[in-house]
Amino acid sequence: MLGFSSTISRKYLMAITGLFLCLFLVIHLLGNFQLLLPEDEAQLQYNAYSAFLSGNILVKIIAYVLYISIILHSIDAIYLSFKSRKSKKTRYRYDARKRASKWYSRQMMLLGVILFAFLVIHFYDFWYPFKFGELTLDQQGNKDLYQLVIASFQNIGYVAWYSVAILALFFHLLHGFFSAFRSLGLYHPYYAQIIKLIGVIFSLLICIGYLGIPIYIFISR
């Protein structure tokens, strides 16, 4: 597929799509921070922002890159793990190999499945009603996505599921961020350490940011 025939090329694809998704996480989080403004202001601004995003051609192109990234990242993961699955003959009868690596580095697939499930639900909850559903309009005549988000974040079950997914994201990033750079060939011992540190800080900030918003809204509204 597109010259991505060897397992190493597949890992490049994994890394590039993964890093693009990391960039998207930052942009999406910055947009979400508007939810934390005072209530009246937040509603108008957040809805205007959503309307701007759905109307802008440049954003639309990036959105397609995003959809393709998610799909390629997932397909590639399935392809690679399917290829290296254990046969009965190569499965250890007594296995203590886990002492040599972090649990989340071995469970990227499981964490990824949780994230994929989250994305499907997330799209169904917000993206689909915004694009195709009938939403009430706010004072400025924009679709009132804000009320939909606030209503969801006032539901304890929703906030709990959201938190589980963000925690899965945290561990996925904790391994994925530096792993992407290694897959792309960052072999310098000093810069590899720096990237590892940046990866930990990045994962923490993303986790705190995405968890903070629903919890703040749940407590304050």
Binding site: Y92, Y94, R182
Partner: protein
């Protein structure tokens, strides 16, 4: 103080056999014995009882040949980090312990008999590019090719690989990335190896896939169990070299 151990050892007649664990008791073991000496003791006992001895790979017994290698209590080369099986001693165990001994397992490493594994896939990998093309004859004077100390050290860190296969055995994907990475990194660092660096990395990576070694997910487990503590950064170097070769092609 003499030790008593119970051994659960994987017995398999040939590569087609399904195999199973057999349990053996050993008494009066000296804690200063190496793990392989303990297996020798067991084999003596088995031969005396007219039973088939346990087959296992071994050669130098001083930690540098890379021949010995088994899973000991579920860990390649046993619990202490960065050692070979022959450098493991019974003092690491407690009197009365049960030790589970299994062969290295991977699709590319079929079990031949008992604990003996066919690791010729590594030889096939080396044959696909893990060498430099030079004319035979007398070795040239070493100082005609000046190599800075830090480059020589870098290359030697990678060249220290003894090819035991613990990286593959311990990897959840059965990846040979550390073995190939060490070879690529070693040869790409030196002027003698630079001439064929692109051809080498493309061939070795293709062969690695053909031999059914898995992909690398950067868990880092291979370095932990590697007797030579070969750094996973050599895998990053492999990825770099492969990308460089692909772009140049």
């Amino acid at each position: 103080m003499p030790m008593k151990l119970q051994l659960k050892i994987w017995r398999q007649k040939n590569s087609d056999d399904l195999g199973k664990f057999n349990t053996y008791e050993l008494k009066d073991l000296n804690p200063a014995m190496s793990f392989l000496e303990m297996l020798d003791t067991l084999n003596l006992q088995l031969i005396k009882n007219k039973e088939e001895p346990v087959e296992f790979d071994h050669d130098c017994r001083e930690g540098i040949c890379g021949q010995c290698g088994v899973m000991i209590n579920g860990i390649a080369h046993g619990k202490p980090k960065n050692i070979t099986t022959c450098q493991l001693h019974l003092r690491e165990f407690k009197d009365g312990d049960t030790i589970v001994i299994e062969p290295f397992r991977a699709k590319a490493f079929p079990v031949l008999k008992d604990l003996k594994v066919d690791r010729s896939a590594f030889d096939t990998l080396i044959a696909s590019g893990g060498y430099i093309g030079v004319e035979t004859g007398q070795a040239p004077e070493a100082n005609t090719t000046p190599i800075p100390q830090e480059i020589a050290e870098q290359a030697f860190d990678a060249a220290a690989c003894i090819g035991c296969g613990a990286c593959v055995a311990t990897c959840k994907n059965e990846s040979a990335a550390l073995f190939v990475g060490a070879k690529i990194s070693h040869l790409a660092a030196l002027p003698q190896g630079k001439a064929e660096r692109e051809k080498r990395v493309l061939n070795m990576v293709n062969r690695m896939d053909e031999l059914k070694f898995g992909h690398c997910t950067n868990t880092g487990a291979c370095q932990v169990e590697c007797p030579q503590d070969i750094s996973v950064l050599h895998i990053a170097k492999l990825n770099y070299e492969y990308l460089r070769a692909k772009l140049k092609k």
